[in-house]
């Protein structure tokens, strides 16, 4: 497999980023300590100021045509009929079994036009799946994944930073809404108030040529200097989303995990029209859910990591960690894990097996982190 690179690859390298392979893409995991970065500093910048991420590896699928809404309703679990033009929603594409093809953000760009933003590792699979499952609708399906450089500007100061570079009135854009405007001199740029950090922020979609991408990236960094902006890599992106309990494909959600187990009920509208996966989900709900995703906090020394076993206090294997890490803002060791329902109530004591030994942990309410409400 050839490793793919975003248009900003050379920029990341020049900045001294540590590059890693992620789902077939060469991406920055963190930038050097010498420029004030490293996962902890990048994470803290997003919680307290602003950080920017190259997320061009994310994919984009456009559905447009007279039956675009019907097509989106058929392939996704949330109710897209509720979306006004310019609004977005978290949703998921499901297999007939009620398990996950991928999670997505559905944007309604125009009356009959929707944009699905999908994960990097599932781009090709998602596109074929969407195409195959929408053939019966009068609706064109286009893979726009390579057309955009996607930059996420995240943190409480993100709005102040981006407002310096655009004529769009960002104060009028609510969370999970999109607008279009001039950004860094580029006309008609899509700006979404969305992100994957559990913080306020924006994602912009600019042309994917290297010159434009580089110029915009550098202009954002320059404009953000007064707010202490730092570039952020996948390392901080992961710890930020974990504190906010946002699912990662292949970890909290996958083709063997269903919607109820992942506790994504509020994004799954069973009462809307038929959609792929609905019948299986109805059956699985009637049969009773056997395991649930829970938040764990370590109560003893040790860091739970992806794939570690979860044990009962008497040492029986009962589940596994889907994502685990030190949480830089909360300053705790946290994890998400699948455990049988009887172990899911908040306050349940469990253990995580770390290098052969059980370290104490307790089920805690999720999300671990919720951003302060603006007054």
């Amino acid at each position: 497999m050839t490793i793919r690179k975003t248009a900003l690859n050379a920029v990341h390298r020049q900045m001294g980023a540590k590059m890693v392979e992620f789902n077939g893409w060469e991406m920055p995991v963190e930038y050097p300590a010498a420029i004030g970065c490293g996962i902890i500093n990048e994470h803290m910048a997003v919680r307290t100021g602003v950080g920017i991420f190259d997320v061009s590896h994310m994919g984009d699928i456009r559905l447009a045509g007279p039956q675009a809404l019907a097509a989106v309703q058929h392939i996704s679990m949330n109710d897209a009929s509720k979306l006004a033009v310019g609004q977005a929603q978290y949703s998921a594409l499901l297999y007939p079994e009620g398990t996950f093809v991928d999670d997505v953000i559905v944007h309604r760009l125009a009356e009959n036009e929707y944009l699905l933003v999908i994960n990097a590792g599932t781009r090709e699979k998602d596109f074929s799946w969407v195409r195959d499952n929408t053939r019966q609708f009068d609706c064109a399906v286009e893979n726009l994944s390579d057309d955009f450089t996607q930059i996420a500007i995240q943190g409480p100061k993100a709005v102040n930073l981006l407002q310096k570079l655009t004529d769009a009135d960002l104060s009028a854009v609510k969370f999970y809404w999109v607008t279009r405007g001039k950004v860094c001199g580029l006309q008609n740029i899509l700006i979404g108030r969305t992100g994957y950090t559990a913080e306020d922020g924006f994602e912009i979609y600019i042309p994917s040529d290297e010159a434009t991408s580089t110029r915009v990236w550098n202009e954002i960094l320059a404009a953000g200097r007064e707010f202490g902006v730092v570039p952020c890599g996948l390392g901080a992106r992961n710890t930020l989303r974990l504190e906010g309990c946002l699912a990662l494909y292949g970890h909290e959600i996958s083709d063997t995990i269903n919607v109820w187990e992942a506790k994504l009920d509020r994004f799954c509208k069973m009462e809307k029209s038929e959609f792929v996966g609905r019948v299986a989900l109805e059956k699985s709900k009637a049969a009773g859910v056997k395991r649930l995703l829970v938040g764990l906090e370590m109560t003893e020394r040790g860091i739970a990591r992806d794939g570690y076993k979860v044990l009962s206090t008497d040492g029986r294997e009962i589940g596994y960690v889907t994502s685990g890490s030190p949480a830089p803002f909360l300053k705790k060791n946290i994890a998400l894990a699948y455990v049988p329902v009887e172990f899911a109530p908040v306050g349940t004591q469990v253990k995580v097996e770390i290098r052969g030994l059980g370290a104490g942990a307790v089920v805690v309410p999720t999300p671990f982190y919720k951003r302060p409400k603006k007054t």
Binding site: K18, E30, G235, N238, I303, R305, S325, P326, P328
Partner: protein, 129 residues
């Protein structure tokens, strides 16, 4: 960062500084840079035996878990307790932040390890990959 010439290095990126029959062990600047923000150092207790080339502990950064390999065989005489509460010292001062002190079973083992110059060459090659 220059690698101090008063000690020897392993290809697993530990350093060992010998003082008579005893020695201090830590990880190199290259190791701390590759790991990133270090949040956890797990070492054996005083009195434990460690064996050259075998793991004797673990160091964890936010992102990664990495084994520590013993540069030489010996008995642990001291553990750097400061690292339990301030593991980030390994990032800020890798060649000062020793992890354990040991008495050497066989001081001759040290001769087989890399000099500072050889280690520097080794990491330059490794970083080039």
């Amino acid at each position: 960062m220059a690698y101090p010439t008063d000690r020897k290095y392993t290809k697993e990126h530990e350093w060992i500084q010998v003082n008579g029959n005893s020695a201090s062990v830590g990880i190199t600047d290259y190791a701390q840079q590759s790991l990133g923000d270090i949040v956890f150092v797990e070492t054996p207790k005083v009195g434990a035996e460690i064996t050259a080339g075998k793991t004797f502990g673990t160091v964890e950064s936010v992102k990664a878990v990495s084994d520590l390999f013993a540069p030489a065989s010996g008995t642990v005489t001291e553990v750097n307790g400061e690292l339990a509460t301030a593991p980030e010292k390994v990032n800020s001062d890798p060649h000062g932040a020793w992890m354990i002190r040991i008495t050497l079973n066989n001081p001759g083992e040290i001769d087989g390890l890399l000099s500072a110059a050889d280690y520097e060459k080794f990491v330059a090659e490794e970083a080039g990959h």
